[in-house]
Amino acid sequence: MLTAVFTAALALLLLGAGGAVLRQNTLVYGGSAAACAVAFLAALLWLLGGGEPERLVLPVGLPWLPVQLRLDALSAFFLLLVDGLGLLASIYALGYGRHEEEPQRVLPFYPAFLAGMNFALLADDAFSFLVAWEFMSLASWLLVLASHRQPETRRAAYIYLVMAAFGTAALILAFGVLAGPEGGYAFEQMRQRPDAFWPATLIAFLALVGAGSKAGLAPLHVWLPLAHPAAPSHVSALMSGAMTKVALYAIIRILFDLLDSVVWWWGLVFLLVGGGSALLGVLFATVQRDLKTLLASSTIENLGVVIAAVGLAIAFKANGLPLLGAVALVAGLFHALNHAVFKGLLFLGAGAVLVATGTRDLERLGGLIHRMPYTALAFLVGCAAIAAIPPLNGFASEWLLFQSVIEGAVLPQWSLQFAVPVVGALLALSAALALAAFVRAFGIAFLGRPRAAETAAAREVEATMRVPMGLLAALAVLIGLVPGLALRVIGPVIEALFGTAAISAAAGRFLWLAPPGRLDVAYSGFGLFAAGAVLLVLTVAVVKRASRTAPRRSAPWDCGFPDPHPATQYSAAGFAQPIRRVFADSVFRAVERVDMPAPGEQRPARLELRFDDRAWTLIYAPITRAVGTVTERLNVLQFLTIRRNLSLMFGALVLLLAIIAVLR
């Protein structure tokens, strides 16, 4: 199976090289789809079949450590995510790619990006992992630069790559500590090396910072809402849906596999970071006016949720409660899986909107449900799933996570006892706000009346783009109704990491979700769906029997003052106003300025709206300023006279001489 995945990844690399030369849309995307399908099936079969991890050693890499590849449950699970989404995104791209302005800037890098993610998941030594990891960043950076002519895209790409380099540096350092002075770079050596307390803590936090920056955790998230939307939509889907999962994989791999134990207060930090990111991300999602930026912001939220689950798992595991830890991690992985499904779906949907209307600006969209019924339905399912609406998949994982949070009461440390409910509140608030964000996204973009001419002229997209959306929507429903399907593939991961068969019992009951040992507390998406369906049918039957007349169509009532102009509709900014007001000062520093013309003036009144990311103003802007100041000050060195340069040399000489005079 490993060989199959490896071959697929290698084929992707070759496709990338071929893409640079051939520039054949169908070939590159078709080939990518095929390779992803192979890798997906191989990973799936491996997970279902179980068995020992497979290994492969390649004759490349560090001279004394050839590249080690390994397929175990954890990598297989994440391969499933990456390649599943990769498969669908590639099919989608068969249609989407034809609308690309400069396809030669996408074709070579798209398969390379997929290959990077695959190799990162397969790598079993630090060097090859980091090569694949950073290769993935590199390829995605170039994909972001596909529309390089827009200055804001270049800015996004720049911030992205610098943050990626920062993250990689942190990971390199983490692996440096893990490997030790003898350079045991193979993961197998790291697993066997005992880690003392402080080095282990260092590793954990470097991993959190390093992989967290890729996952978009606050306050390292600033690049994400810029870079993810700037890429072509199928790439955005992969960046948000798959690449963030690779980051998650790195965190889990390091914390639960390479380190031999965890410390409870790491969990506290993870919980707070996760909860904070969740709230921050979703708040940004509620106010964005760019559809893809909105989706990207929501990625921050979802990864925050997953990291909070990981934090809980750490806290439980450190306190000797592996069973509860396993449940928390299941919740996290389940949510990660779900996020891949619905965020992939939503980005593909946004891409379809972009293709059909040429804009991602919510204030120019509207009424697309009439013109793009298929996309609208799929997007609606995605919105409902991400807003944690039962019985869809998003709710199932949130439900499990909340159960885990409630179990947090058994944790002995008072700080955790306080933090867990607080984080629970943050997560609850995020879930509720996600509902707001996605009602707004769907309501403004797809409902109401078109706000611009190009939106009014939109047409449904081609079948190659519709089918992947449909499949993802079906998947969101299916996993929601039968969560056991997801648990079936998560189970082996948990068994490998926690050494317990804890969730096999739960996984056995395909239609029910329940914490282990608590079969009384259960949730069944299917049951609810069935009951709801019965009630719905009953309602419809009764009402239709009582009232047979067909509805009459007329102009909207609108309290007697209907105005056909689309500008009279509620705008995206207006819809977000209540939430913006509530959270304005604390999070956004939103500034609303109304430019009201004096009575008698003819010009229209204008509302100007600005909001900043506090992380940017508090952290990144000062750093940028500091770099600016330092570089400006030191730039004097370029303009020194020869004599002054000689003085520097003289100073260095005398200093060194003085040092050896003192030390001798």
């Binding site: 290769f135 590199l138 000489l653």
Partner: protein, 477 residues
């Protein structure tokens, strides 16, 4: 006559011959031919017995540097022929200057090779001095205000540096003479290695400080670096390529030889911390200075300072991994940086400017050059799967494992440099194209040959190279 002599003889005769050839095309071809001959004879070093004479020698350390030098000199001569053709067409160089240029090019290669294979401290010093003289003349080749100023600065700073290095060399002999007696043996690398243990550590310390400052000036270590950016920016681009790609390596090679010597003496102050601090200061300074650059060649010159800092830091750290990384980084940097200068040279010619602000959208207007530059900068910035990533990975991990506090300035410097390079790369290579968009007559072969080698090395190092590196890494301690 051994293969070593052929390696030196080829550029020597070539230099004389090229000084006499008045024809432009023939001279450029001759330059390539001589460089090819040098490369061929350097490759023959692999097959013959290691040579070990009183004045010249070949060992595991210098053999690969010799081959690298000959190789880069060869590819640069290829680049040079198309570059110079353009310069002559646009009238920036006269036929006489051209003759001078080609003769000096070969003389420069000769001094570099001589410095590498010299078994004698004095001879090596003479060779490095010769390299300074030849390049100073070539830096001033264009006779513009800036070029002359750069050459003047180069000459004064390196002159002082080389004088200090000579003082260090004399001190070395002072220490060696009482132990080994008078004569050539007391200045031969091969002979010194054993007896150094009995020499007076105080003198050795003193000698090393002078050598570090002296040769360090040529390496471009901060704060001794001031000559480097201007010399790179104002001279002909092929010279920038060999300055960054070769001369810095050779100077560093000299420092390392002395470090190797000192490693066998118990009493000396460890040279490591000195090299670490100079390496870090170069790294940080180089990175910071990258931000405000307006001239593209000067920017990459600062990037050379940055990388020399990393390499010096790695050797200062010592240990199997860091030394290995340092050697690898030296090789990769010289291939990558010269490739970048190949690209930059043609870019400056086609756009008619070296100002960063006036160049943009290269990948759109000149895809081959533009993507070549992207690849080169991506490599130099330390992104995988290119070679520099491997060495930076090794340096960072081993530093973190042994001296976590040192990892902080190291990472800071790397990230600062990364940020600046990518910032400029994006503005140059992407965005709407600017300026002239006409076709370019560039020889892309040397550029892509280097990049392919760097790419391969990032994933796979041939075992003989690894064996050399490991032997040398052990010797470096």
């Amino acid at each position: 006559m051994s293969a070593v002599h052929f390696v030196l003889l080829a550029p020597l005769l070539g230099s004389i011959a090229l000084a006499l050839v008045p024809y432009r095309r023939a001279a450029a071809l001759g330059n390539v031919a001589v460089s090819a001959a040098t490369l061929a004879s350097s490759l023959s070093l692999f097959v013959v017995e290691p040579y070990r004479g009183t004045l010249l020698f070949v060992d595991d350390f210098n053999i690969y540097l010799v081959v690298l030098t000959a190789f880069v000199a060869f590819t640069t001569s290829l680049f040079s022929s198309s570059y110079i053709a353009h310069e002559v067409e646009t009238g920036r160089l006269t036929p006489n200057e051209l003759r001078f240029y080609h003769a000096m090019y070969q003389a420069f290669v000769l001094t570099l090779l001589l410095a590498l294979v010299a078994n004698n401290l004095g001879l090596m010093w003479v060779a490095v001095e010769g390299a300074t003289l030849t390049t100073a003349l070539m830096v001033g080749l264009y006779r513009t205000h800036e070029a002359i100023e750069a050459a003047w600065k180069y000459f004064i700073l390196c002159g002082v540096g080389i004088a200090l290095a000579l003082f260090g060399t004399i001190l070395m002999y002072l220490a060696a003479q009482p132990v080994m007696g008078a004569g050539l043996a007391a200045m031969a690398w091969t002979e010194l290695l054993g007896p150094v243990a009995q020499m007076d550590p105080t003198i050795l310390n003193l000698a090393f400080v002078f050598l570090l400052i002296g040769y360090g000036t040529k390496v471009g270590l901060a704060p001794l670096h001031a000559w480097l950016p201007d010399a790179h920016a104002e001279g002909p681009t092929p010279i920038s390529a060999v300055l960054s790609g070769l001369l810095l390596n050779v100077a560093l090679y000299a420092v390392l030889r002395f470090k190797m010597l000192l490693a066998s003496n118990e009493g000396v102050i460890a040279p490591g911390p000195l090299m670490i601090s100079m390496g870090l200061s170069s790294l940080l300074l180089g990175s910071v200075m990258l931000y405000r650059r307006r001239d593209i060649k000067r920017m990459f010159a600062y990037s050379s300072i940055e990388h020399m800092g990393i390499i010096t830091f790695a050797f200062g750290m010592g240990g199997a991994f860091a030394n290995f990384a340092g050697l690898l980084h030296m090789t990769m940097h010289s291939l990558t940086k010269s490739a970048i200068f190949f690209a930059v040279g043609h870019i400056a010619q086609v756009k008619g400017t070296q100002k960063i602000a006036d160049i943009s959208g290269l990948t759109a207007s000149h895809p081959a050059l533009g993507w070549g530059l992207v690849l080169g900068v991506v490599a130099i910035a330390g992104l995988p799967p290119l070679g520099i990533f491997m060495s930076e990975f090794l340096v960072l991990t081993s530093t973190m494992a042994r001296q976590p506090l040192l990892a902080i300035p190291l990472v800071l410097g790397l990230l600062l440099g990364f940020g600046a390079l990518i910032l400029r790369l994006q503005s140059v290579a992407f965005g709407p194209p600017s300026g002239r968009t006409g076709p370019v007559t560039a020889s892309l072969l040397p550029l892509y040959a280097h990049l392919v080698l760097v790419l391969i090395a990032g994933l796979y190092l041939p075992p003989p190279l690894v064996a050399w590196f490991q032997t040398v890494a052990r010797l470096l301690g």
